[in-house]
């Protein structure tokens, strides 16, 4: 009995200690706890007029200040913005990893930056703060929520459902003459394609040369059957939708030089003939306005393309868009739907920040369910819906439209992460380079698949196979890629 009492007392002491170490900050909501946490930190360290700096994707320079100013009113902490193009941010973060200047407190970038940045030690794991702040990741699909972790540690708070979506021209689909011709040819009404093959057949059907008259309309500038990202630095973001599975086996052997891989490469390249000729040189600044100009029938893109085409002044397709789930692909004999999280704005805290905890509280506040929803509803923002609560938010419903919102949320169930591995940008570049060779007719899909396999193996060996295998297995088991090892 005495021994039992001692054991119980010891357990109580240990338990109390553990609770004290991670004492939850008071507050009924995620945002309240963040504000209270920040205030308590300021008070504890007797800090006033604190300024923190965020390296921000320049896409958000017009919307982010609305939130940083609110944070300042709530806590007195000023957030200084350093905007930069999102393609340049990873290099800037790695430069900070080497220089250790402490110039930045927070980084705003895709979760894909985390593996290299965390390895370099420039990011701080946020778990100890999260234990006290109790952020809420409920209602976020696994492919998106698990992206916030790398090697089991929380590094990024994601506030963006950038999983790909397919958008069609509703006005064309509803056209009675189109319907009649389409039905005569395919024995069904036009609409969201079930598979990649069907999307390509639709692209072929709708593809119209400049000056051609069809369905009672004249297409002076032509109508491209499809659009998608095919340039270097973008192709890799789309390819998993065509591949539909894990790119490596459990030992990090590439699965690309397989019938499934070769078919995916062929499909990825084949539909390019229905896209604008310059598509291999285009990024978002070109694709969004072109889509809004009404010169294409369909586009596979980040979801914000719908909001852009509905709100852009020059858009001729306002309220003429039909959002669809990403079509399914044949992955080794079974149809699967995979919607890659192609970008996804996230927030990370620098290890070299003078006040990393304070930076954390801002990140928790901004990405919380309430403020996060307000950000997604912001008319000048590029944050896309990704959380179940978005469906019930009136402002978000008004901004994005019911049909789009329901579709993108359904799509999020199929959201899958790109590679969350050290050296991932090198893996991506190998894929991009050889996909371009196939699209330009400089290599066959089979040749490209073998070269990609060799290139990926080279990267894996260079980084360290054992380490990569461990991280890869950990990622797969977490559910980040949706698929599991066979």
């Amino acid at each position: 009995m005495r021994i039992l009492t001692i054991v119980l007392a010891a357990m109580l002491v240990v338990g109390t200690g553990a609770t004290a170490g991670a004492q939850v900050v008071p507050g009924a909501t995620v945002e309240e706890r963040a504000v209270n946490g920040a205030k308590a930190y300021l008070q504890k360290h007797n800090l006033k007029n604190v300024e923190q700096t965020i390296l921000l994707s320049s896409l958000y320079r017009n919307s982010f200040p609305d939130f940083s100013e609110r944070w300042e009113k709530l806590t007195g902490v000023t957030i200084k913005i350093v905007p930069l193009g999102y393609t340049d941010i990873p290099a800037k973060i790695m430069a900070e990893a080497v220089a250790k200047t402490g110039e930045f407190d927070m980084f705003n970038d895709f979760p894909y930056t985390a593996p290299d940045a965390a390895g370099a030690g420039v990011l701080i794991p946020l778990d100890p703060y999260a234990a006290r702040g109790k952020p809420d990741f409920s209602g976020v699909a696994p492919g998106l929520s698990h992206q916030q972790y790398y090697q089991g540690k929380l590094y990024t708070f994601v506030l963006d459902g950038d999983h790909l979506i397919l958008v069609l021209r509703q006005d064309l689909i509803d056209n009675p003459q189109v319907k009649a011709e389409y039905r005569a040819k395919f024995k069904k009404d036009p609409g969201c394609p079930a598979t990649m093959e069907e999307w390509e057949r639709q692209a072929e059907f709708f593809h119209t040369k400049p000056g051609q008259s069809r369905w009672g309309m004249t297409f002076d500038k032509g109508l491209y059957g499809a659009m998608g990202y095919r340039s270097v630095n973008f192709s890799y973001r789309h390819f998993p939708a065509y591949f539909g599975g894990l790119l490596f086996d459990k030992d990090m052997n590439p699965r690309i030089a397989t019938p499934q891989g070769v078919k995916a490469i062929k499909q990825f390249a084949s539909i390019v003939k229905y896209m604008p000729p310059d598509i291999q040189g285009w990024g978002t600044p070109q694709i969004y306005p072109f889509w809004a100009s009404g010169q294409a029938y369909s586009v596979m893109s980040f979801p914000s393309v719908v909001g852009f085409a509905n709100s852009n002044e020059k858009s001729v397709i306002k309220a003429k868009q039909l959002a669809c789930l990403v079509p399914q692909t044949d992955a080794g004999g079974k149809l699967v739907r995979r919607s890659p999280q192609a970008a996804g704005t996230g927030y990370m805290v620098s290890k070299y920040s003078k006040h990393p905890e304070l930076a954390y509280w801002f990140v928790q506040w901004l990405t919380g369910p309430t403020v996060g929803d307000e950000a997604i509803a912001h008319p000048k923002g590029f944050w896309d819906p990704f959380r179940e609560s978005n469906l019930k938010n009136a402002a978000i419903r008004q901004r994005f439209g019911e049909q789009f919102l329901a579709t993108t949320m359904e799509n999020s169930k199929y959201a899958t992460s790109l590679l969350m591995l050290e050296g991932n940008y090198e893996y991506f570049n190998v894929l991009d380079k050889h996909l371009a060779d196939v699209m330009n007719g400089n290599a066959t899909a089979e040749e490209a698949a073998k070269r990609i396999e060799a290139g990926w193996n080279k990267v894996t060996n260079d980084v360290g196979r054992a380490r990569q295998v461990q991280t890869w297995r950990q990622g797969v088991e977490s559910g980040i890629y949706l698929d599991k090892f066979e």
Binding site: M94, A95, Q280, G281, E422, E426, L435
Partner: protein, 327 residues
């Protein structure tokens, strides 16, 4: 106690002025003073060149990716150099850079020379022409990249301009300037030519301005045709200037980076990736710092050999000119 210390404090005031005087006197000595420039130059050399160079060599001998803490780096020997030399992409990027430089510099020399010759012969408006032709050189490369990306758009002004010619030759008039591997290479070359012809123009114009008029007049009096005057008198006199233009522009063109990044980001695929962009990518995108250091050391050797050849040409031209009494 406080009063006792006061005089000591007052007496100590002039003390700080003594060391500078001593230093000044020491510096004023002839044997020391003549060493000052040497020490300053050597100091700057150490700080700006030798230390970074030494660090680069050191890093190139390590195995280190910036995605790991530096403490985890280990000695690799010449492994990185072997990896660079075995990397086909390095050689492709290098070859592509030489190709860009050769074509772009040739065009820049030709156009710059013709423009300078025409402006040198112009009686009125020389200053206006000179100013106008120099503008591209002064434009920020980012602006050049942005403007050209607009010009090269599929339905953009350049395609509209070349459409009739392309149709005559049986080509598709909608040239994919930024997305076709070959066209994209030419897009970069043309943007470079537009910006840097100004420099060759300026060099040649100064050359034409410095030509001795009596020699040209004498040739004219002796009945030489304009073509003979140009070919036999002016061109030989301009040879040193031409060599300067070739060397200066070639050295710059081999570092081509801006257009490759701004117009195509090295794409489609890696078809417009120059060696400078390759290096940037290896270091800042792939975080392969030691590999990048080794690649940059190898490039240094290659470019140093070229610079040496260029300087040798310049010196030889100068020697020939002096021997011929033109120097």
């Amino acid at each position: 106690m406080a009063d006792a210390h006061a005089p000591t404090r007052t007496a100590a005031v002039p003390a700080p002025t003594r060391p500078p005087r001593r230093i000044a006197a020491w510096l004023a000595q002839e044997r020391v003073f003549r060493l000052v420039p040497f020490v300053l130059v050597e100091g700057l050399f150490l700080l700006l060149l030798a230390i970074p160079f030494g660090l680069t060599v050191y890093i190139s001998l390590l195995k280190w990716r910036a995605s790991r803490p530096f403490e985890q780096a280990h000695f690799e020997g010449l492994g990185n150099y072997a990896d660079v030399l075995a990397d086909a992409e390095f050689w492709w990027a290098l070859g592509r850079t030489f190709y860009f430089a050769a074509v772009a510099v040739s065009l820049e020399l030709l156009i710059g020379f013709v423009l300078a010759m025409l402006v040198a012969r112009t009686v009125r408006g020389t200053r206006v022409y000179t100013t106008v032709f120099l503008v591209p050189m002064m434009v920020v490369p980012v602006v050049v990249g942005y403007n050209f990306s607009m010009i090269y758009v599929d339905s953009g002004p350049l395609n509209q301009l070349v459409a009739p010619v392309a149709a005559l030759l049986g080509f598709d008039p909608r040239i994919r300037w930024l997305s076709h591997p070959i066209a994209a290479q030419w897009a970069i070359i043309l943007a470079d030519v537009w910006q840097w012809t100004s420099l060759t123009f300026l060099i040649f114009l100064s050359g034409f301005s410095a030509l001795p008029r009596p020699l040209v007049n004498a040739a004219r009096v002796m009945g030489a045709s304009p073509w003979q005057i140009f070919w036999r008198v002016q061109l030989p006199l301009l040879k040193p200037v031409i060599v300067i233009a070739v060397v200066v522009r070639s050295m710059e063109a081999l570092k081509i980076f801006d257009q490759s990044v701004l117009l195509t980001f090295g794409g489609p695929g890696n078809s417009t990736q120059t060696v400078a962009f390759y290096l940037w990518r290896q270091v800042w995108q792939f975080n392969k710092f030691s590999f990048g250091a080794a690649a940059s050391m190898l490039l240094l050797v290659i470019f140093a050999a070229l610079i040496y050849a260029g300087i040798y040409l310049l010196v030889r031209q100068r020697s020939v000119a002096l021997a011929e009494g033109r120097g």
